[in-house]
């Protein structure tokens, strides 16, 4: 099986968006363009924050994974979510193929376990070797202040895992709200995952939380990149 580039947007946020489009709608839009949206909600206390429903809705609409974690557990979660979203993307392509061959209800789980193991081996090969474009979009509104060191550490951790992959990977870092727009590009597409943590900004942007518009703007970065690819071919 040939695999194109896996495109992922990873949103790190701690709460409710309060302005602009519905973020779940923007995530659904991303999914239609072949970009998986994963969300990690960073909470303070016992996980009863009002932002939880929104976090799940975004990931569901974006075809990705969602987790709610405390800042201390962020590192391993970021790595796991990214890995699982990669295999998730491949499985959803396989499921689609199966529905074409078998019936509308078919998915990998409806196959006998021995066949599933064979598929799992192929999926692992693909997710290790396929090209990956990962855009990290971080909430920098005032309430994130105490969580920023954990975010930086998690990005370092993510870069360690991603640099150990066999396949080519590109990374980009965006933060929101931006100075003049909803979101702002901090690091343009690079193959050096190490830059994610190295150049992670320490200053908060404060103010509003325009999660929806931020997703929309960050998506433009994927679009520009694929246009660029076409031109360069």
């Amino acid at each position: 099986m040939k695999m194109g580039t896996m495109k992922q947007l990873l949103l790190l946020t701690d709460g409710c968006s309060n302005t602009g489009e519905d973020p779940a709608m923007m995530a659904a839009f991303a999914r239609r363009r072949g970009i998986t949206v994963n969300v990690i909600g960073i909470v303070d206390g016992n996980g009863t924050d009002p932002g939880l429903a929104e976090i799940e809705a975004i990931a569901k609409a974006g075809g990705g994974e969602s987790r709610i974690v405390q800042a201390a557990a962020l590192s391993e979660t970021v790595v796991n979510v990214t890995r699982q979203a990669m295999t998730g993307t491949i499985y959803s392509i396989i499921n689609e193929e199966l529905r074409g061959i078998l019936n509308k209800e078919a998915n990998v789980e409806s196959l006998p376990p021995a066949t599933r193991s064979e598929i799992a081996e192929k999926v692992e090969d693909i997710s290790e070797e396929a090209a990956l474009e990962l855009l990290v979009l971080t909430d920098m509104s005032a309430s994130m202040k105490l969580k920023l060191p954990a975010v930086k550490e998690a990005l370092y951790d993510l870069s360690m895992s991603m640099q150990s992959r066999i396949g080519p990977s590109s990374f980009s870092l965006w933060t929101f709200p931006g100075k003049y727009s909803a979101a702002e590009e901090r690091i343009g597409w690079t193959n050096d995952a190490g830059k994610l943590a190295e150049s992670f900004p320490q200053l908060l942007s404060g103010g509003i939380t325009p999660t929806g518009p931020a997703i929309r703007q960050a998506l433009s970065s994927f679009m520009e990149m694929s246009e660029y690819d076409e031109k360069s071919i």
Binding site: E76, R83, P113, S117, E121, D157, S161, S164
Partner: protein, 297 residues
């Protein structure tokens, strides 16, 4: 985690594909990836693990890969994979050999500190046979290993097993080379050897190691201030620095180093202590001699 099935003791679990019935005796393990139960079927006792479909499939592959090791397998034997269907939902699970015995950290409780070195030797033997297959263990936490009666270590959870050259599938930060900023997360023997060295230190000083996580110099000072670990300090430091390319090289050094410390310790410590310690030095010396003979051949 979604789609997690909770079984209760006495419950009968019937496989959708094989029709085999397993009776749950008790829960024996629980982690981020799934829950393991001790069950009894027509063929006897087994360990049954519920996990999501992808993990069941990938652990099945890891376990069958391990069975290519000749003689005793370093991990549990794979029995079969199946699904439980309940109220319209599907819960994938698989069965493996039930390995009975204490986990590394339970085993060492109440024993002399020098036992950590013996465990490291056994662990390296385990890693030798795993690396020969072209896989690393990845997740070197003590809960993943059982000390079996034949004086050897076997793995009970192989979720982190990764082919050489790839990025480690599953790890615990405390034993992870990248978390200590001492290298990448690429699967290679040196990754496991680093983890094995940290595991040895943390078997004796878990809280302290946890506190300094990320700072390799602090980890080194823990080794230097521990009488038992001082004995093998150069070997641990080499493993931290990624100087060993194979488990056998580290084991050889460890045995030599252990044998060398014999005289120094005998003169330096009180009689009662050396009586017990001496036994181990003689054993290690003998092992080293056998190894040297073997190497010279």
């Amino acid at each position: 985690m979604k789609n997690r099935y909770e079984a209760s003791p006495g419950e009968q679990i019937k496989g959708k594909w094989t029709g085999h019935v397993w009776r749950v005796e008790r829960e024996i393990g629980r982690g981020a990836n799934g829950i393991v139960y001790l069950v009894r079927g027509s063929a006897g006792r087994a360990a049954l693990k519920f996990a999501d479909s992808a993990s069941v499939a990938s652990e099945t592959n890891a376990l069958t890969a391990l069975e290519r090791v000749r003689g005793a397998s370093p991990g549990p034997f794979f029995i079969e994979a199946d699904d439980l269907e309940k109220e319209g939902a599907v819960y994938p699970f698989f069965l493996m050999e039930f390995i009975d015995g204490p986990m590394l950290h339970t085993f060492i409780k109440g024993k002399k500190e020098e036992w950590a070195i013996i465990l490291l030797i056994w662990l390296l033997t385990f890693l030798e046979s795993l690396h020969r297959l072209g896989h690393v263990m990845g997740d070197l936490k003590p809960e993943n290993f059982i000390v079996v009666s034949r004086k050897a270590i076997r793995a009970v959870d192989v979720g982190g097993m990764t082919k050489f050259g790839r990025s480690i599938k599953e790890y615990t930060a405390l034993y992870d080379r990248a978390a200590w900023q001492a290298g990448t997360r690429r699967a290679e023997p040196a990754y496991d050897l680093f983890g094995a060295a940290v595991l040895t230190v943390s078997l004796l000083h878990k809280q302290t190691v946890q506190r300094v996580l990320g700072n390799i110099d602090d980890l080194k000072s823990i080794v230097q201030s521990s009488p038992a670990l001082q004995l093998i300090e150069p070997v641990l430091f080499n493993a931290f620095a990624g100087k060993y390319e194979s488990a056998s090289a580290m084991k050889r050094d460890l045995l030599l180093c252990f044998a060398k410390t014999k005289t120094r310790t005998r003169t330096g410590r009180q009689k009662r202590k050396t009586f017990w310690a001496g036994k181990w030095f003689v054993l290690a010396g003998a092992l080293a001699a056998i190894l040297m003979l073997f190497l010279l051949n």
